[in-house]
Structures are given as structure tokens and as C-alpha cells.
């Protein structure tokens, strides 16, 4: 019976991911004074990609061909590990933070290889930049996660979220806000948004993630984009799990589950609005300024940990 709920939440998150992407795009357009595409546009795009024939570079090897499948599969496995509507998850018994981060690492590893595989300079440049940024972001991500998980004394996501839901004083501690801010910077970095990466450009020397996808087309492009959108929602959900978990039920059925679903949607929409505002209010920073942004996040989460223990 639980398994059904667990599968429902998995499918829900994968299905809702394009909507959140569409929402952010629409909001950005409105904020920029444009009408913008419909919020359902990512679904239309996906349908289009799935029906298109593919053009694959003659210089690329099997690595280029399997990468979209590897990336999408690892993303699904990650979704099976994180609490979304309920804190019981399909892979809860092995679900913990380190595995989540490293599974995203597998996806990144293959994406980076596929960027090099075609021989295109754009792909390799994007690959090099993405791995460099991840090298800086990963320690920050872990330290921020520690700021959350150390007080809980576990890295088990289910336990962390359960305890966070039960806690009523989470809001009252200063480390909460520091860690929240640090994690928000990381979400921006990991989802490839301004000021770190620009998701809307093609063929500019500023791009990171898009550069690696440049040679993809058809079904494979669809899978790569969808995985990127799912990853974005996963990062949002992790933020929700750690910092605003109220509404997530520990064992939900029927109305409770529906309630959690509505609450989650509201939270995702609020985060999407926040993200659109952040993207609107900043310019993309120079590539070699990214370390500064990330060290700021690192400092914030370090201070969060210290205040946790010293206060």
C-alpha cells in the first residue's frame, strides 16, 4: 500500500517538473514586459522532441548515445529517494544524502563526457566549465547539508524530514536562516540559473549546461532537458524538505495526501516566483567570479554550523 503512495509521489514530481520550468519562464517574461510562452510550453516541447527524427554527429561514439538514458535513469532513482509528499520513500532504506549527491554526479559525469564526445568546442567548453563549477559547488553543498543534518545527527533524508516536520522551533534559530541562504545559492548554481549560468542562451560563450546539449536532437534532447527540469524540482524539493517541511505527511493516504500535494504545489510555485525574481534582478556574473559567490555560500553554512554549536 505504501509502495503505491511512494510511486505516486515519484510520478508526480517527474510530471510536474516541466510545469515549474514553464512557470519560471512565463514569470520571467512577464517581469521583462513580454507576454512569453504559455506555462505548458515545456510539455509541448517534449511532445515535439519525442516525435522528431534525430541527427547525431558522425564523430560521436556510443557514449553520446547512452548518456540521455543514464542521465534520466539516475534522476529517477534520485527522485525515488527524496521525501516529496510523504517522508516514506521507495528507496528509503538506502536513501541518504551522499548517494543523492553522487547519483547526480553520475549524471554530470556522463553529460560532461557527451559534451566532449562530438568534438565540438562548445560542448567541451561547457563540460570543462560545468565540472569546474561542480568542483566548487560540491563542498559547499555538503557543508550546507551538514548544517542541516548535524543537529539531526543523521544523513538519512526520511529521518531529517520527519524531525524537521515535528520541530516547531526550527524558525527561531539563526543558523536556520544562514543555511537557508547558502542552500538557496546552491539551488541557483545546481539548476544552472543566472547569475551562475544562463539557461536561455544558445551559442554564446557564456553557457555552461546548454553547451553540452548543443549536439542533441529529437528524443535524446527531450530526455536531457526533462532530466534537467526534474533535477531543478528535486533541488526545490530538498530545499522544502529541509527548511519548510510543514505539510509533508509521515504516512499519508487519501485526503492527507491530497493536502500534502496542494501544499507542495503552493511551495513549488512560491519558489518558482522567487527564482524568477532572482534571475530578473541579477546579471550573469563573470565565470571567474563564481568562486566568490560559492565561497560566500560556504562561509554562510560554516557560520551556521558554528553558531549551532557555540550558541
Amino acid at each position: 500500500m505504501y509502495a503505491i503512495v511512494e510511486i505516486i509521489q515519484l510520478v508526480f514530481l517527474i510530471a510536474v517538473a516541466p510545469l515549474i520550468q514553464g512557470l519560471i519562464k512565463k514569470l520571467k517574461a512577464i517581469l521583462q514586459g513580454r507576454i512569453g510562452p504559455s506555462i505548458w510550453q515545456p510539455y509541448y516541447d517534449l511532445r515535439k522532441y519525442m516525435a522528431k527524427d534525430e541527427v547525431v554527429s558522425i564523430h560521436s561514439s556510443w557514449i553520446f548515445l547512452v548518456t540521455p538514458y543514464v542521465v534520466f535513469t539516475t534522476t529517477i532513482v534520485v527522485v525515488a529517494m527524496i521525501p516529496i509528499l510523504t517522508t516514506s520513500t521507495l528507496l528509503g532504506f538506502t536513501g541518504q544524502l551522499v548517494l543523492v549527491v553522487y547519483l547526480f554526479g553520475v549524471a554530470r559525469f556522463f553529460t560532461a563526457l557527451s559534451g566532449i564526445d562530438t568534438g565540438s568546442s562548445f560542448g567541451a567548453m561547457g563540460s570543462s566549465r560545468d565540472m569546474f563549477v561542480s568542483g566548487l559547488a560540491e563542498p559547499v553543498l555538503f557543508v550546507t547539508l551538514l548544517a542541516v543534518s548535524l543537529p539531526m545527527r543523521t544523513t538519512n533524508l526520511t529521518v531529517i524530514t520527519d524531525r524537521a516536520v515535528a520541530s516547531h522551533t526550527l524558525f527561531l534559530s539563526p543558523p536556520f536562516y544562514l543555511a537557508f541562504l547558502a542552500f538557496f545559492i546552491l539551488v541557483v548554481t545546481e539548476t544552472g540559473r543566472i547569475p551562475v549560468d544562463n539557461p536561455d542562451t544558445h551559442l554564446e560563450l557564456t553557457m555552461i549546461h546548454e553547451g553540452m546539449l548543443l549536439e542533441y536532437s529529437g528524443k535524446r534532447l527531450g530526455l536531457m532537458l526533462w532530466s534537467a527540469w526534474v533535477k531543478q524540482v528535486v533541488m526545490f524539493t530538498l530545499l522544502i524538505d529541509f527548511f519548510v517541511p510543514w505539510g509533508i505527511s509521515s504516512q499519508g493516504f487519501g485526503w492527507t495526501l491530497l493536502g500534502s500535494l496542494v501544499v507542495l504545489l503552493i511551495k513549488l510555485v512560491v519558489l518558482a516566483i522567487l527564482m524568477a525574481f532572482v534571475e530578473m534582478s541579477y546579471a550573469k556574473i563573470r565565470f571567474f567570479r563564481i568562486p566568490r559567490l560559492l565561497s560566500a555560500a560556504f562561509a554562510l553554512s560554516m557560520i551556521a554550523i558554528i553558531t549551532e554549536y557555540l550558541l
Binding site: T73, Q96, V98, F142, R153
Partner: protein, 670 residues
């Protein structure tokens, strides 16, 4: 009868076989074909002995008396030695199989017999180090191991680069051995015995203990290639023949780990907190500097050597955490951290040997180690490419490969340190260690995306890379074995780790609970988590099947055409593809304080306004050499200059020295 032999007997038989054949081959090359196969047989013996040693934690001792009391030869076997015998046996076996095909590279050019003999002797002396039962045996075996590895490093001694590397290696390793000898002699003095069996948890004054600890750390740290004692490693490992590099990087530097465990965990036992802190700190520095330097290299094998420094750093982080937890009276967590270090050590032996063997295969086919001149080899060497990808995924700690298990265990140990510390500064330190571990992990991923991508993907950037073919069958088998082991020890890690529990309890009093990785694990692990790689794999398999089904049947059938890569309208030529140097440019800029990159662009032909030929050079200058070794070297040379004044070449003054010495001696003995 064979079944009545103990693990130690089998190991000694193997060592004797290797030594005998090694010496026979040196005497006459007639024995060469026999030696190759006997070597493989001996390695199988080592694997059997290793497993027996791991499973039966009973100690065996064999003693042959020497002329003096302290020169007796003694061997012993316990679960820890068994672990290392297994490690040497596995990598040794693979290296010997690989050597069958690889030595053809040197046929007619160099003496193949000497190379085969060297490898056999090298394996034998390494086994002798881990089964040594007393100080004398250990130090003799250690010295033999160092000298034979030196001889193997200078195998291609006609090259200037090799001579330099060999010289630095032999100097550094002897500095290390000097410290070790002193450390061992001090402990033996306080223990009142030279036998390792009587040398556990010796009562010594704290000052002496600290001295022994520091000397052992310097001595073994030199062998392990810890920063700043690492300078020999990136020079010596790449210039050796590739299967020797695999043995050196995969196995020999682990001997330092064994020695360190022996001295610090067995001889000294209870320790002050700062020892662990120091070990973890040096480990963290080595890990970070190692990988940053690795990213600065173009030479494939040199890059791998720097990555070995990084991995030894990670292993020593694990040991440091274990020591700290021990000092904090958390024996359970301490045992866990030690387990993590051992698992990572074994993993590193597997994937680093695999990567060195693959670099050797590429070198044999293309005659270059320079990644900027490679590329596109996945079409010409498909099997080598596949095995290398396995190795790269393992070393980058990607689940489900074995590297991830090691990293995961280390992360949990560091987390255990963070939660069990009562002092917030220790928690702070543990958090920094975790940050170092993860940063290193992400940079390793970058380094190996770069190395694999630039070697095997895109277009060949030189004529040699275009002409490459798949390598000899024996070399492919060797790489396949290691690649399979990387995957198997990752997926079935719980079984594998279960085997290691006796090894861990050799040096710790707390036994590890049975079935360390399943349900019992939740109680034991510092952060109440369990890990099940098979479950993750199963989910991934189901997801892939579903995805394939949906793609195949739910949507319209689509076709695929092959066209050129889009290059803004041009035609893609190899010179347009990214190079390894270009790939790591962000690292060179962000870490320029550490690797000190320099570049120059010189006009060689044409005028300033109409240039026709440019020469571009870029290089990195390792930090340690620039700031630590150069000043020391200058100081030593300065002292040598001073000493030279005494040695002025005049017979009269030498007679005067003799006369003065005589008077001094007479005065002293009066």
C-alpha cells in the same frame, strides 16, 4: 597435503618461487618463458594465502635464526597481513598477465628478461614486507623493495628524464628509511624484543611515543607520497614501464599504509588527539594539492601519479579520523573509520592499476603520454576504452562502482567524528575534512572526465593516434579482470566488507558486528543509514526498462541520421577540438597560487605586424618544489661549499687532519 598448509606457508612458498625464478632469469634468459608462468602461479598462491589469512585470524610464525640475536628472519600472518597479501597478489597477477603482451614493446630494444625478473622480485619483496615478523626482516624487505623498485624505475636509463627521476626517488626513499629505522629501533628498545608479536601497545614515555609517531609518519609518509614529501612520486611512477607503474602506484605505496598501521596502531596504540588531527590534516592537504596538480598535467601517467598522491591523502584522512575517534574513546567508530581507509586502499589498488595499465596500452599504441596529442581512440581501441571508462567511473566515486563505497564509508566516518566530538572545534575540523573530501571528489571527477574524454573521445589530434589499434589479448584480459573487480566489489560491497572485519579487529579491540553492511549496519554506522547498491541498481534497471518501453512503443517511431558536428558552418578538423590543456584552464586560473602556471608566446618567423610562425609554451611549476625544496637544496649546496674548504686537495693539510684526529682520540681514550 596442500590443504594442510597454512596461509603463511603458501605465501612463503610463493615468495621463494618468485625470488628463485627472478634470480635465475637474471643469470640466464633461458628461464624467461618458465618465469612468466611461474610468476602467475605464485600470484595465484598469494591470492589464496591472502584469503586464508583474511578468514582465519590465527597467527603463524616461522623463524630462521641468524648469526646475531637481532638478525633472525621471522614471518607471521594475521588478518591484516592477509589483506595486504591479497592486495599484492591480485594486482601482481594482473600486472604479470599484462606484462606477457606489454614487454613486446621493449623486444629487441631492451632486455626483457631483466624487466620480468625485476617484476617478480618486486612482488616477492612486497609480500615479504607484509608478512615480516620482526624488525630486521621488515627493514631488509623494505630496503630490497625500495632498491628493486628503483631499478625498475630506471629501466629506460638512457633517457635523461628517467635518470633524474631515479635519483630523486632513491634519495627520498632513503631519507624515509632512515627515519623508519630510528622509529623501529626506539620501539624495539622499549619493547625489549625485536619480534612484532611482543611489540603491541608498548609502554613508553609520551615524549618517546610522540617521537616514534613523528618519525614513522615522516618515514612512511615519504613512501606514501604525502605532501610535502611527495616530490619523487610524480617523477618516478610515470617513467617506469606501465605495469610497474601500476604495481608502484597500486601496491607499493600501500606498503607505507601497512607500516603506518603496524607502528601507530599496533606498537603505540593509545594516542593523544592531536596525532590523529595531524594525520588527517596532512592527508587533507595531500588530497587537495594532489588533485589540483593532477589537473595541471598533460602527461597521462604523471596525472595518474598525482592522483595517487590524492588517494593516499584520502586514505590518511581515514586513518587520522580513526586515530581521533580512538582518542575520543569511540572504539566502534574508530574501527569503522579504519575499515573505510582499508576499503579505499583496496579500491585504489584496483582502479589505479587499471588506469595505469590503460595508459600503458595507449602509450604502446600511440607512443605518447601527452593527452593533447591523443583523442578518438574509442573507435580504434574499443575494449581499452570501455575498461578505462570503468576505471574512471570507479576513481571518480560513481555508484555502483567500488570507489563510491570507499568514499561513502569515509564520509560516514567523518560524520561520526563530527557528531561524537564534545568539543565544537573538533566538529568544525570534521566538517572541514568533509568539505575537503567532497571537493577532492568533484575535482577527481573533472580530472577523469578530462583524461578519458581527451584520450578516447572526439577526433585524433596526431598521426600516431590515428594509427592506433586494439592491444594484445593478454593486456585486454588484464584490464578486463580489474574492471570487473571494480564493478563487483562495488555492487556486492557488503560481502566484501564483511570479509575485512577480521583485518580491522587485528589492531582494534572492538570487534566489528557481523554483517557490517546490512541491518546490523544501521546500529553501527555513525549516522543511522544503510546502503544497498544492489537495490539502487535494481531500481535503475527497472527505470531503464520502463523508459525504453515508453520510448519504443508509446511515442512515434523516429529515425536517426549521422551528420557532421555543427561548427558554425565550417568543417570539423582535429585542431578545432578542445585539448586537455584547454579543459583544465579554469583550474589553472583559479588555483594559480598552487600550481603557478606560466605561458609565453614567441614570434619566431615574420614581423610583428605580419606574423607567420608562433611558438606557444605553457607549463606549471609545482608549489612544493618552488617554495620548499629549492631553498633546502640551496642551503645544502651552500653547506657543501663550506665543507669543500676543508677538502682542499693538499696532502699536507690531510696529514694535519690525521694528526689532529689522533690527538683528539688519544685525549678522549686517556
Amino acid at each position: 597435503m596442500l590443504w594442510s598448509l597454512s596461509a603463511l606457508d603458501i605465501a612463503i612458498v610463493g615468495v621463494a618461487l618468485c625470488l628463485l625464478l627472478g634470480i635465475l632469469v637474471v643469470i640466464h634468459r633461458f628461464f624467461l618463458p618458465v618465469a612468466k608462468w611461474i610468476g602467475i602461479f605464485a600470484s595465484l598462491l598469494f591470492i589464496v594465502a591472502g584469503f586464508m589469512g583474511l578468514l582465519n585470524p590465527v597467527r603463524y610464525i616461522a623463524i630462521g635464526h641468524g648469526i646475531f640475536n637481532f638478525t633472525s628472519i621471522a614471518f607471521r600472518m594475521n588478518a591484516m597481513a592477509g589483506f595486504f597479501v591479497l592486495l599484492i597478489g591480485t594486482v601482481g597477477l594482473v600486472a604479470l598477465i599484462y606484462g606477457l603482451g606489454y614487454v613486446k614493446e621493449y623486444d629487441g630494444r631492451k632486455s626483457v628478461a631483466l624487466l620480468v625478473a625485476g617484476v617478480l622480485l618486486f612482488i616477492a619483496t612486497m609480500i615479504a614486507v607484509v608478512i615480516a615478523g620482526n624488525v630486521f626482516t621488515f627493514l631488509v624487505a623494505w630496503e630490497c623493495m625500495s632498491i628493486i623498485s628503483f631499478l625498475l624505475v630506471v629501466y629506460e636509463h638512457e633517457q635523461r628524464e628517467v635518470q633524474n627521476a631515479g635519483f630523486i626517488y632513491v634519495v627520498m626513499t632513503h631519507i624515509g628509511t632512515a627515519f623508519l629505522t630510528i622509529a623501529f629501533l626506539i620501539t624495539a628498545h622499549y619493547a625489549g624484543s625485536f619480534s612484532f608479536e611482543q611489540m603491541s601497545a608498548i609502554h613508553m614515555p609520551l615524549g618517546m611515543k610522540t617521537l616514534v609517531f613523528l618519525f614513522a609518519f615522516i618515514g612512511f609518509g615519504t613512501k606514501a607520497g604525502l605532501v610535502p614529501l611527495h616530490i619523487w612520486l610524480p617523477r618516478a611512477h610515470p617513467v617506469a614501464p606501465s605495469h610497474v607503474s601500476a604495481l608502484m602506484s597500486g601496491v607499493m605505496i600501500k606498503m607505507a599504509l601497512y607500516g603506518f598501521l603496524l607502528v601507530v596502531f599496533q606498537f603505540l596504540s593509545n594516542d593523544p588527539l592531536w596525532w590523529g588531527g595531524l594525520v588527517a590534516f596532512v592527508g587533507a592537504i595531500s588530497a587537495l594539492l594532489g588533485i589540483v596538480h593532477a589537473l595541471g598535467q598533460r602527461d597521462q601517467k604523471r596525472m595518474l601519479a598525482f592522483s595517487s598522491i590524492e588517494n593516499m591523502g584520502i586514505i590518511f584522512i581515514g586513518l587520522g579520523i580513526s586515530l581521533m575517534l580512538h582518542a575520543l574513546h569511540q572504539p566502534m567508530f574508530a574501527a569503522f573509520a579504519l575499515l573505510a581507509a582499508l576499503v579505499h586502499a583496496f579500491n585504489h589498488a584496483l582502479f589505479k592499476s587499471l588506469l595505469f595499465l590503460s595508459a600503458g596500452a595507449v602509450l604502446a599504441e600511440t607512443h605518447t603520454k601527452n593527452m593533447d596529442r591523443l583523442g578518438g581512440l574509442i573507435f580504434r581501441m574499443p575494449w581499452t576504452a570501455l575498461f578505462t571508462l570503468f576505471g574512471a567511473l570507479s576513481i571518480a566515486a560513481m555508484p555502483p562502482f567500488n570507489g563510491f563505497i570507499g568514499e561513502w564509508l569515509l564520509f560516514q566516518s567523518a560524520f561520526g567524528l563530527a557528531v561524537s566530538a564534545h568539543n565544537s572545534w573538533i566538529t568544525f575540523f570534521a566538517v572541514l575534512l568533509i568539505a575537503t573530501l567532497t571537493m577532492t571528489g568533484a575535482l577527481v571527477a573533472m580530472a577523469f572526465v578530462r583524461s578519458f574524454g581527451m584520450t578516447f573521445l572526439a577526433l585524433p589530434r596526431s598521426e600516431d593516434a590515428k594509427k592506433a589499434h586494439e592491444v594484445h589479448l593478454s593486456m585486454r584480459i588484464a584490464m578486463a579482470v580489474l574492471a570487473a573487480l571494480c564493478l563487483v566489489t562495488g555492487v556486492f560491497s557488503s560481502r566484501w566488507i564483511d570479509l575485512l572485519k577480521h583485518s580491522v579487529s587485528t589492531f582494534t579491540t572492538t570487534p566489528i558486528p557481523a554483517h557490517a553492511m546490512d541491518a546490523g549496519f544501521a546500529r553501527f554506522s555513525p549516522s543511522h543509514v544503510t546502503l544497498s547498491i544492489p537495490a539502487v541498481l535494481l531500481t535503475a534497471a527497472v527505470a531503464t526498462l520502463l523508459l525504453w518501453f515508453v520510448m519504443r512503443f508509446m511515442w512515434k517511431q523516429t529515425s536517426m541520421v549521422r551528420r557532421d558536428t555543427w561548427t558554425c558552418g565550417g568543417v570539423l578538423v582535429p585542431r578545432m577540438t578542445y585539448t586537455a590543456s584547454g579543459y583544465s584552464r579554469p583550474i589553472r586560473i583559479a588555483f594559480q597560487k598552487i600550481i603557478q602556471p606560466s605561458r609565453s608566446l614567441n614570434l619566431t618567423q615574420g614581423s610583428f605586424y605580419y606574423p607567420s610562425h608562433y611558438v606557444y609554451q605553457s607549463s606549471v611549476r609545482p608549489w612544493a618544489e618552488a617554495f620548499l625544496y629549492q631553498p633546502v637544496l640551496r642551503f645544502v649546496l651552500y653547506l657543501a661549499q663550506l665543507v669543500r674548504r676543508i677538502q682542499n686537495g693538499q696532502v699536507q693539510s690531510y696529514l694535519a687532519y690525521l694528526f689532529i684526529t689522533l690527538i683528539v682520540v688519544l685525549l678522549l681514550v686517556k
